[in-house]
């Protein structure tokens, strides 16, 4: 199996007035094609830096990022992004917000095809009938659904999610997790999810990677079986509880609050 995303020995530091601030330290990470990788770690450990590196929005000091075996030199149209803030364009309808990436990536695509593609995705996330609404007329959860549609409308190889469910209430969040599974069953993309929610990572991901505190390196990896067949009930089994405990303990280590087991 080929790796869609491969991060090899990446080290990066931000230049600040008080000298360099190292954020990533020899971090390596691989996500196989079609897989879903969740990255968890303490606050400010460089998770968002990771997303910007993969998106080609910045270059690491050392090491390299590969997409489909090709080194990332700059932004590329095969990436889709969604953030905690849905950043929808208020002056466009929901439909036209979803279409936006196609205007950049496929300027020659007929409007009719764009609309059909956007409608198909909006229906998939339960936003049928809201196509002509403005973002301000939708709830936070609905806005985030539209944002997800926009992130995948151009069929990106890699979907980068930077805490997209972080600002939602617990019930809405669980709804969106299920929407995420539904999307994955329909659309072929490889996902990197940044999150602070361990249950979220267990529900959505095939592999959970715990980053250490700053400068971050991959401290712990956990493969999670089940894929998109998982249900919310699976989060309340003894097996899930054990996994959650393991991850929580790893986070505490990353925060420097627990001893590393011998």
């Amino acid at each position: 199996m080929t790796n869609t995303v491969e991060i090899r020995h990446v080290t990066h530091a931000y230049r600040t007035p008080n000298g360099p601030l190292p954020v990533l330290d020899n971090l390596s990470l691989a996500i196989p094609e079609g897989a879903f990788c969740a990255v968890v770690g303490p606050s400010g450990c460089g998770k968002s830096t990771l997303t910007r590196l993969i998106a080609g929005l910045m270059k690491p000091d050392q090491g390299e990022v590969f997409l489909h075996g090709e080194a990332v030199r700059g932004p590329r149209s095969t990436v889709g992004m969604a953030f905690q803030n849905p950043v929808l364009l208020e002056w466009r309808s929901i439909l036209d917000n979803v279409i936006l990436p196609l205007e950049i990536v496929a300027p020659r695509m007929p409007r009719r095809d764009r609309v059909a593609r956007a409608r198909e995705l909006l229906a998939l996330v339960g936003l049928e009938g809201f196509e002509d609404k403005r973002p301000s007329e939708l709830s936070g959860g609905m806005r985030q659904r539209a944002s997800l549609c926009r992130a995948i409308v151009h069929k990106p190889e890699v979907l980068i999610l930077d805490e997209p469910f972080g600002a939602l209430d617990a019930f809405t969040r669980e709804d969106l997790w299920q929407t995420m599974h539904a999307l994955r069953r329909q659309e072929p993309f490889t996902t990197l999810l940044i999150t602070h929610d361990l249950r979220e990572s267990l529900f959505l991901a095939d592999e959970v990677v715990v980053l250490s505190g700053r400068p971050a390196t991959a401290q712990y990896r956990m493969a999670v079986p089940g894929g998109t067949a998982r249900t919310l009930d699976d989060l309340y089994t003894p097996d899930a509880a054990e996994r959650l405990n393991l991850l929580r303990h790893q986070i505490q280590i990353a925060q420097g609050r627990a001893e590393v087991p011998a």
Binding site: R52, L57, P75, R76, V79, M81, N85, V87, W91
Partner: protein
């Protein structure tokens, strides 16, 4: 609903004129102390032709200055909004320039371009009104959340595309807010030139001739005509705002 939207402001204006009339009547003021609205009708009728000709002169020169201010202010705002260095470099200059009272600039401009009255008037209207536009555009652009840019930048969109699709429309509400301020400022600029350095053109010159001829009702009639022009231009901007940035209006409809 729309009848209500017209009726309420019209009623407010009528009440204002009524109070004004009552104030003059109650105090028994002669019209050289303060003209009352009922004195203005004859002035308008007597000088109707002059009002039309000079009102048009004031209007077109104000609009020309305003258009210049929009073009230059937007360009300057873009430069300052996108480049930190330019922002740091230009802000003090701009604030200093804006702090100079334009009444002191009028004689200087009049000397620099002797006789070019139309040009001078447009220039002053422009100079007084571009500042709010430049500042609001630059703030709108520099406060654009990075995520907005990243959505398109991560797809390899050019800077120009990002500006056209995101930065420009997102800045429009701020731009129109500034334009509403600039409209009234531009009128001040035009009239400054027309009154301080009169060349017999524009409503400012009509005001001035009212002053020299002790025609007090005429002076007040000019003030009201200027207010009327200002209101008309302001509502034109409001209409444009509704067309181009109506999405920013969140009031329940």
């Amino acid at each position: 609903m729309s009848l209500r939207r017209i009726a309420i402001p019209v009623l407010a204006i009528l009440i204002f004129l009524g109070l004004w009339e009552a104030l003059v009547w109650w105090n028994q003021w002669p019209n050289y102390r303060m003209a009352s609205p009922s004195d203005l009708g004859p002035a308008y009728i007597r000088y109707a032709e002059l009002f039309v000709v000079m009102g048009w002169q004031t209007l077109w020169r104000t609009v020309a200055g305003l258009l210049l201010a929009v073009v230059f202010g937007t360009a300057l705002g873009m430069v300052m909004g996108f480049s930190r260095t330019m922002r740091d470099a230009l802000y003090p200059l701009l604030v200093g320039f804006n702090a100079v009272p334009k009444a002191t600039v009028v004689p200087i401009v009049a000397l620099m371009f002797v006789g070019a009255h139309d040009f001078n008037t447009v220039l002053i209207a422009f100079m007084i009104s571009f500042f709010p536009i430049a500042v609001s555009v630059s703030i709108g652009l520099s406060t654009l959340e990075p995520e907005y840019r990243d959505i398109l930048r991560s797809l390899g969109a050019s800077k120009l595309t990002i500006f056209r699709k995101i930065a420009l429309p997102k800045t429009l509400p701020e731009f129109f807010g500034a334009l509403k301020v600039s409209v009234t400022l531009a009128f001040i600029g035009t009239n400054l030139m027309e009154i301080v350095s009169p060349h017999g053109r524009g409503l400012g010159a009509l005001f001035d001739s009212g002053r020299t001829n002790s025609d007090y009702p005429l002076m007040f009639a000019v003030l009201l005509a200027l207010a009327g022009l200002g209101i008309v231009l302001y509502y034109i901007v409001v209409a444009l705002e509704r067309i181009f940035a109506g999405w920013a209006d969140r009031s329940p409809t």
